[in-house]
Every structure is written in structure tokens, then in C-alpha cells.
């Protein structure tokens, strides 16, 4: 049995208890006002992140990513994702303070964010397919509700419906994948499944491949891999921008956690030539995401496509993982960076929506003068997304492309991944630069300084410090990512 004081259990307890408690307080409390629920949720999230950090510093956490006969495991891999998710959760919660003021049902809103966070965290700690699936649903279901949170707004409803439809489909596909795996190996424990797969005869192999394909499709939906991305721009655009931040920065990363736990480890064990498949998806994903983003006029939609493009970059590291030792490390690093950058960008948009009520790119002209801090935060996060040095995005992209070039010793086509990545980064600067240009170099309707939402300012300042700080001194995070990388040599193999 896993210990009661292990990280995943304690996080579930902290976040779950508070998440359930908030709506109860709402019922008992007569006064109106949304901030109190936000503050409670923030407290829980801070306590959770504090606990994770404490566990790591006191070395209660097993390094690397490991298998276990339990359903959950307390390893650094999970903790790495837990920290990333909790940062996103905190940024979303703080960023929502002003956005939620005067809107209906704040208690439920914050409660759902907490519950969804539990799901995301548990995915990263899961070592059993069924546990992973339950965590997956625990993460997804609250976000369906949150996407449709503006119930009077048709586009929010559309977003929720589309998101739910595809969520249901992908859940079904994941279940299908799990059932094939169980049928072939008689277990749902990930380690047992991988060992079982590696002992399969050649006649059963196509079924195993079908299972992996199902996992790629099912998890890829959440990540926004092309061609499973179609729902994503519609859903992000319709949802409240704060929830778009949670989806793009949080749930998407949970998808990567699942991919790493199941597909990468499994595929390495299967010794499958899956690198090529993932590489093709990576290139298509980043190109489609960036190309489509250029044409967008709506900020949230543009950021949604940009997040598709970013998923493509992350996939580079995963596809060369068995060949290049820094592949997964680079991906993890970029996952953490992207969480903060993308969340910051979406929260900045939320700030703009709260203050000006617009998301169209022509309407943000002269924002540099009207909302200087928000504009600065948005600019820095966009530059970091584009990978401009010396911001954090530069280092993680450098490592990603470096891993692709490194893999070129074994796979002749791997360096083309880096080429595609660099070209795409240049392409992405076109629309990132466009937003920055609109904010700073074009005259707006007025130059009067507006009152910026305090909570958004707080998030902006945090992100600027994070982005620039990691940019100047990336080492600790790179080391942390390194310590969370699964040890490949320890995996079973059919050799």
C-alpha cells in the first residue's frame, strides 16, 4: 500500500477537502462577494505546492519516474508535473479574482478549479491505467462545466458542448485502448502491461499497436495534436479566458504526463518505430498551429492555435526520447515553461477582457499606454513563447532542438525536426510580433491610463519574474527536470 503521507494522497486530501468545503461555505454564508472563495482556494493551492516542495527538499520523493504495483507512486516525475499544475492553478485562481467579481456562482467556480487540479496531479502520479483514467475524468469533467461557465453566452455553451463531445469520444477511445491492453496482458498496471506487451507473439502485435494508437488519439485530443485538435480553438475561444488558461496550461500538460507515463514508456518497451510517427505528428502539429494562428483576429483564438504549435515543439523531445538523453528533459522543461508563459498570456487577455471587454486584435491598439503592466506581461510571455533569449522559452527550445540534432547520429531525419522547429519559431514571431506591435506602436483610441485589475497585475509580475529569472538562471529548473526523467535503461525490453 502506498503510504498515507505520500505526496499524491496528501495533495488529494488538501485540495479535495477544500474543494468540497467551498460550496458548503457558500450555502451557509449569507453575504455576497466572490473574493473569499478565491482566497480559500488560493490558500489550498499554496499549501499543496508548499507540501510538494517540502517533500522534495526532505527527499521523501523517489527520484526519476518509476513503476509500482500500487496504483499511485510518489516520484519526482509526478512532483514535477504537480508543481507545474499547481502553478497554473494558482495563476488561474489569482487571475480570476477580478474576472469573477459580480459573476454568478463563484464558489462552485473555484471549487471546480481545485477538483480539476486534483485530477491533473493524480494523472502524473498514476501507475495504473484505471487509476490514470479516473484521474483523467476527474480532471476533465470539472473543466467541461467551467468551459460553459458563462451560461447566457452562446459561444461559451458551444465551447462546452464541443469540448464535452470530444472529451467523451476520447474517453471512450482511451477505455478502448485500456481494454485491448487488459485483454492482451491480463493487467491494468502499467508496468505489467508493458512487460506483457514485450512478450507478445508477432500475431498479437498489431493489437498492441492499435492500443498505442488509441492512447495517442485519446491523450492527443487533450494535448491538441493535429488532427485531434479541431475542437480546441472553438473551446478555448468560447470559454472564459481564465479557464482557457487552465485548459491550455494545465490540462494540456496533464495530457503530456499521461503520454509520458503510458505511451513513451510503453513504446520504448515495445521497441516500436514510433519515433517516426510522433515526429510526423510533431511537425504537422506545429506547422498547422502556427499557420492557422497567423490568420486569427481574436486574441484567445490566436493563443489557442499558438498552444497547438507549442505542443508540436514539446513532441519533438518525446519523439527522439529513446535516442537522445536530453529529449525528455527538454520536453519537461518546456512543459513547465509553457505552463507559465501560456497561463500568463491568457490571464493577460482575461485582464483585458475584464477592463475593456474586447479580445479583437484591432481593439488593443495602444494598450502599452493604457494598461502598461498587463501589456508588458503579455509582451514578455509572447516573446518567451517565441523563444527570444534571454527568456526561459529560449533555453527549453534550444534544448528541444538540440536533442533533435543530437539524435541525428542515429536517426538521419531527426535534425529536420530542429529545422522545422526553427522555421516555425520564425513563423510564430510573425503573429506574436504583430500583437506586440499593435500594443506599442499603434495609436489607440485614447492614451488614458486605465485601472488594471490588481489580481492580473500580481499574476503578470509573478510571470515576468519567473520568465526572466529562469531565462537568466535556468540551471536549477533544468536540473529538476533532469531528476524527473524516467531512466530508460531500467525498462523491460524485448531484446
Amino acid at each position: 500500500m502506498i503510504e498515507f503521507t505520500s505526496t499524491p494522497i496528501m495533495l488529494t486530501l488538501i485540495l479535495g477537502a477544500v474543494g468540497v468545503l467551498i460550496p458548503v461555505i457558500n450555502v451557509a454564508r449569507k453575504e455576497k462577494g466572490s473574493s473569499v472563495y478565491g482566497v480559500i482556494a488560493l490558500g489550498a493551492l499554496l499549501a499543496a505546492i508548499g507540501f510538494v516542495v517540502y517533500q522534495i527538499l526532505t527527499k521523501h520523493v523517489t527520484p526519476s519516474a518509476i513503476f509500482s504495483s500500487n496504483v499511485l507512486v510518489d516520484d519526482t516525475f509526478g512532483s514535477f508535473f504537480a508543481i507545474a499544475m499547481l502553478i497554473v492553478g494558482i495563476m488561474t485562481t489569482v487571475g480570476s479574482f477580478n474576472y469573477m467579481r459580480g459573476r454568478a456562482n463563484p464558489a462552485v467556480y473555484y471549487s471546480l478549479i481545485l477538483l480539476s487540479s486534483i485530477g491533473m496531479i493524480l494523472i502524473a502520479y498514476s501507475t495504473d491505467l484505471v487509476m490514470l483514467f479516473i484521474a483523467w475524468e476527474l480532471m476533465s469533467i470539472p473543466t467541461y462545466v467551467l468551459a460553459g461557465y458563462l451560461k447566457k453566452d452562446p459561444s461559451s455553451n458551444e465551447a462546452a458542448i464541443k469540448y464535452f463531445l470530444f472529451g467523451a469520444l476520447s474517453s471512450g477511445i482511451i477505455i478502448y485502448g485500456i481494454s485491448i491492453a487488459y485483454g492482451l496482458t491480463g493487467s491494468t498496471n502499467i508496468e505489467q502491461v508493458i512487460v506483457g506487451f514485450s512478450k507478445l507473439g508477432p500475431d498479437m502485435m498489431p493489437l498492441a499497436i492499435l492500443a498505442v494508437g488509441m492512447f495517442i488519439a485519446g491523450f492527443g485530443f487533450k494535448i491538441g495534436l493535429v488532427p485531434f485538435h479541431m475542437w480546441l480553438p472553438d473551446a478555448y475561444e468560447g470559454s472564459p479566458p481564465t479557464i482557457a488558461a487552465l485548459l491550455a496550461a494545465g490540462t494540456k500538460k496533464a495530457g503530456f504526463a499521461a503520454v509520458l507515463r503510458v505511451i513513451i514508456m510503453g513504446a520504448i518497451a515495445l521497441n516500436l518505430h514510433w519515433a517516426f510517427a510522433l515526429a510526423v505528428i510533431a511537425i504537422v502539429t506545429m506547422t498547422v498551429g502556427n499557420l492557422a494562428a497567423i490568420k486569427q483576429r481574436n486574441l484567445t483564438r490566436m493563443l489557442a492555435y499558438s498552444s497547438i504549435g507549442q505542443a508540436g515543439y514539446i513532441l519533438i523531445g518525446l519523439s527522439v526520447a529513446p535516442i537522445s538523453p536530453i529529449g525528455i528533459q527538454a520536453s519537461l522543461f518546456h512543459i513547465l515553461n509553457h505552463s507559465v508563459m501560456k497561463a500568463a498570456a491568457f490571464i493577460a487577455v482575461a485582464g483585458i477582457v475584464t477592463t475593456l471587454g474586447v479580445t479583437h486584435i484591432e481593439k488593443i491598439k495602444g494598450l502599452g499606454k493604457r494598461m502598461p503592466i498587463t501589456a508588458l506581461g503579455l509582451t514578455i510571455s509572447l516573446l518567451a513563447l517565441a523563444g527570444v533569449p534571454p527568456l526561459n522559452g529560449f533555453w527549453s527550445k534550444l534544448m528541444l532542438f538540440g536533442s533533435a540534432i543530437d539524435a541525428g547520429h542515429t536517426l538521419s531525419w531527426a535534425p529536420y525536426l530542429a529545422v522545422a522547429g526553427v522555421l516555425n519559431s520564425a513563423l510564430s514571431l510573425a503573429y506574436y510580433g504583430w500583437i506586440i506591435r499593435k500594443m506599442y506602436f499603434e495609436e489607440g483610441e485614447s492614451n488614458k491610463r486605465l485601472k488594471e485589475p490588481k489580481s492580473v497585475i500580481a499574476v503578470m509580475i509573478f510571470s515576468i519574474i519567473f520568465i526572466v529569472g529562469i531565462g537568466v538562471y535556468p540551471d536549477p529548473v533544468i536540473e529538476f527536470a533532469k531528476s524527473a526523467v524516467p531512466i530508460m535503461s531500467g525498462l523491460p525490453s524485448i531484446h
Binding site: K59, F166, G213, A277, I281, M399
Partner: protein, 694 residues
Amino acid sequence: MAILPFDLVSGLGDLRVWAIWILPFAAALIIPAFGKVSKRSTGWVAVAFALASAISAVTLLPGALGNHEIHNQIPWISSIGIKAGVLADPLAVIMSNVVAWISFLIFVYSTGYMKGDKDLTRFFFWMAFFLGSMQLIVLSDNFLQLFFGWEGVGLASYALVGFWYKDKKKDHVGVEGRHVLGLMDYYSPTHSGMKAFIMTKVGDVMMLAGMFLIFAFAGTFGFRELTANTSWATAMAAQHLLIPAAVLLFGGAIGKSAQFPLNEWLLEAMTGPTAVSALIHAATMVKAGVFLVARLAPLFFALAAIGINMDQFFEIIAWVGAITALLLATQGMVHPEIKKVLAYSTGSQIGYMMMALGVAGLSKQFVDGYTAGFFHLISHAMFKASLFMAAGSILHIVGSRFMTDMGGLRKYMKKTYAFMWAAGLGLMGAPFITTGFWSKDAIFAAVYQSGNTWAIPIFAIAVITAVITAFYTTRMIGLVFFGNKSKHVEDMEKEGHHVHEASPSMWVPYGILAVLTIGVGVMGLAFEHQIHDLFVNYLGSTFGIKSSVETVAMGSQPLLGGFLEGVNPVALMASLAAFAIGFGLGYVFYIGRFVDPVKFVNSNIFFYALHKFFLNRWYLNALIYWGFVVAPLYVARGLYKYFENFVLEGFNVVPEKTMAGGARIMQATQTGVSQSYLYIFGVGILIVVFLLLI
């Protein structure tokens, strides 16, 4: 686990060294917060932190004088093996002290000079940032970290030169309406800031290229690592890349130190507040280039031991220095603006330092030239900071940047007058009592004794420049303090603005430095020997550069009963003669005023032409503008008109249409209809499984 902070803390080692550059940055960080409370407090925060930084620097001095080296490293980006670190060897510690103390005095002066300005917070933020960046350059143990400071200095100078961004008329430099080759010789602060930024950037790019070239071979940016294992140099020399890489690095120094041909930004940099000019010229910006050369020169010189000849590199340094020294000194003779005269003089004096460092590499006694260059850096820092601050006071009180608007001020600003003489004598190299004399003399001796083919021409240039230097300094003091009050001053007095002495927070800092110029000057020779001995040990132990014990005194006889022991007689005579001629001429024209300089220049077509040539800056600035600003703009417009409109937009639509088309296809697939999304999802699964099977 490596993320624990313990490794970090133990790697930091001696915290004093880190404090020197981190404290000013910390000041920059908190200054905006103080600015919210009280604008005036920002100045005192900057002063306090600068003092703290200077004190931590001075505590390192005893160790450094004993040739003790502190080298601490912490992991920075360990995935590619890059470490951050501080290197406090004697060179860095002395430089760091010069920078710290002079900057501290300038900060004190700024609190008086900038009193009442609306943007004090911005001003002191950038000043502190400037100081931090400079100390980062000085104390870095590797190129990459140095480059961060290098760019920080560039950024701060851009912000401070263009500090008065409203471009008011009084903040411009140059004479309105004057044209050189059809281009206005009149620049606004914002223009000047941009000019400084772009011109130094040219050097920075070269430096970056040189840095990475060396990194590509050596796999490290660290100075000590490069010294310890020189196999990279052998590999580079084999491919004929070593000298190009070294020259590229020197390109960075050329830009930052305003050496020929990237010298022109320095003059327009005078649009900044005078305190900034003092900081740029005495302590921070331009000295960074000299420091870089001083950092690198022993490294490259020591390569001689493994049979790599770097003479070409050192010849380039020496000649760039010599040309700049003469070029800028001649222009300093004729310009009417006091700050510009001082700026020309800075460029010219930095040229001396470069010359000395270059000659050092060409002679057998490396340490002689090296000491001379560095000694001149120290003495120049003292008297130039003092002169700039004094000039700032005068500007402040007279309200004009033209020396023709001053005149006869010696009765009203007695202290400033005295201090300006003291510091000015330092610049002129007044014999025996000023630091400037000894350091310049050391340079002369080093050049003269180097035994290189170029020694005599360079020596001649150095002496001529010294004559000119003495002349223009005398001219400046004469124009400002002697003669009758100018019309401008009389008009001012009629309006009730009386000329008066500057406030103590202003005159005390430059007074201290002026007194030091003389005070250290009296003991100049002993001081020089001290530095010389230190560098003999330092260069010997760190780089393995041997020097014979009989150093300065090669073949000279004891003069004046041993007082001048070790001084080269030819160099000494040359210094004395240069001072006498330059000062004498200056006295005739501007102090005694026996001959009217204007009439004199107009009397003779040759002098007239020469005067105009110097005043128009040898046409160098105009040519640079024509070549790199005006012409490219014409070409760009032409290209736009004839090439882009017709060719690109007319025929070559392929890239644009492809991108737009691609984007449109993406848009078209995004129909918004869920059924089609589901269909694509299904097809996607098939494609993925297919991809996995191949």
C-alpha cells in the same frame, strides 16, 4: 539533488566579490519603490549602495596587492557546462576600486546636479544599473557573463544619453544650423542615445562573433580555463582563425571605448546630464573597452610561449590607439563646447591606453607597456571625472554649453577654478606633480623602448598628441576663467542671475579628485613602481610572462640625484617639451591673450583650412552618416520604389500567397461543424495507427 541551494552557497565563496556588482543592481531594483515615496530619496539610496559596494571593493585591495587571487564559481547552465563566477585578481580588484570610488563620488555629485529634475527615479535607476553592469564586466570570470554586463552598460548608456528625451533645445549638442557636407552638425538627445547604441552595437556584434569563435574551439568561456589549457589556440592558429577572432574581440573594445573608426558616438553622448558624461568617461563605459584589452592582452601575449605569434593583433591595437589619440586631440583644439572638448580628450587619452597595451605586446618587456596603460587609466579616471564634474557645475550655473558664453569666471567660482587647474594640469601632464605626467611618461618610455619597427612613428604621434593635449586644456581653462565676462554672462546678471560657486555636494566630489590628482602625482613615481612590481608578479604567476628585474631603467643614467631613477631620459625630455610647448602656446592665445586666436586663424589660408578640417571632425562623422545612414535610406527607398513595388509585389507573390493560402486552408478546415471535426478525428486515428505500423 542539485536543485538544493547548498552547492550554490558553497560555490559563491567570497561574498564580498559578489556584493560589489550585486549591490548596485539591488539598488536599481529598490529605487523605483523609493521613488514612489520620495523622489529625492532615490539619490541617497543610490549613494548608499554605491558606497557599500565601494567598501566591499576596498576590503579586497590588501589581498590583491599581495597578488592573491579570488576565483569562485557557481553552476549556471550546467547542461552545457557553463559556469558563472567572479574573478578578483589584482587587475580586476584595482579596476573595480577605481570604478567603485569614482562612481560613488559621481553619485554624490548627481544628488546636487540633478536636484529638482522630474525624473530622478529613472535617473538613479539607470545610474545604479550602469554601475552594476560595469562591475559585472570587471569581475566576471568568463566571456559570456562579461557580455551580459557589456550589454547592460550599452543599454544604460542609451537610456542615460537620451535621458532628456523631450529633446529641448538646450539639451542638444552641436551648433544649430551648422552643416558639414550637407548634413546638420546638431543632434538631439534621443538621436544621440540611438547613435551611441547603434555604433557600439557594431562592436558588440564583432565581439560576440569572436567570443563564440573561441568557444567553438575551446569549449569554454572562462578566462582562467583558456589560460590553463591553450590547445584551442594551437588549433585556431593552425586554421588561421586565432588573429581574426582576437581582432573581432578587440572590435567590441573599439566600439565601447570609442576608438577609431567607431569613435563618433562619444561626442554626441554629451547630450546626457553631465554626471552621466563623467560616469561614462571616467569610470564605466569607455573604460570597459580598455579593461577588456587588459584582460585579454596577457592571455594572447602568453601564447608566444607555445610559439604562436600575435604581433599583428598587437600592432592593430597600437595603431588604432595612436590614430585615435591624434585624431581626437586635434578636434579638441577647435571645438567651442566645453563638454565636447572633454569628450574629445577622453577618446584621445583612451587612445593612449590602447597604444600602451598594444605596444606592450610588441615589446619584450610586456609588463612595461601594460603598467603604463593601466596607470594611465587610473590617473585619467581621477582627473577626467573631476574635470567633467567641474564643467558640469559651470554649465549648471552659466546655463550654456559654449565656452564663448563663459569667460572671466575665476573671480566668482574660486574653488572650481582651483580644482579645474589641478585636474587640468593632470590632463596636460604638468611635470613631476601630477599623475597625468607620470602615467603619460610611462607610456612614452614603453613605446620608445619597445624596440618594435613602429616604435618611432608611434612615439612621434604620442608626443605630438601630448603637445595638442596641453594646448587644448590650457585653451579650455583660459576661455572659461580668464578674460572678460562674456555677453551671455552679463545678460544673465542683468536679469538677476548672479554667477556663484556650486553647492558643496557638487564641488566636494570633484575637489577630492583634483586634490588626489596632485597628491598621487607628487608620489607618482613610487606609485608607478608599486603597480609595476605588482603586475610583474601577477603576470608572472598567472600567465607565466617573465620580466627581467631591471625593468623601467633600461640603459638610463640616474638623474637628479636618484630621484628620477628608472626614468627613460628621452621620454622624460619629450614629456617636458610637449608640456612646455602646448602650455606655452595656450598661454599666449587664451590666458595672456597676446594674440587673438580668431584673427590668427583667419590670417592664413593654411590655418583656416586646418581649423575648418578639425572643426568638421575630419569629415569622418559626415562620411559615416552619408555612408551608413543617408545612402542606405536612399537605397532602401529606391529598392522599395523600383524593386519591391515592381518585382516583389508584381511578380514574386509565391511566398506570400503560399503562406496566406496555407493559413486559409487551415481556416477553411475549421468549419465549426462538430460532425466534420469528428470525422477528421476518426481519420486521424487511422493515420496514426498506419504511421505506427510502418
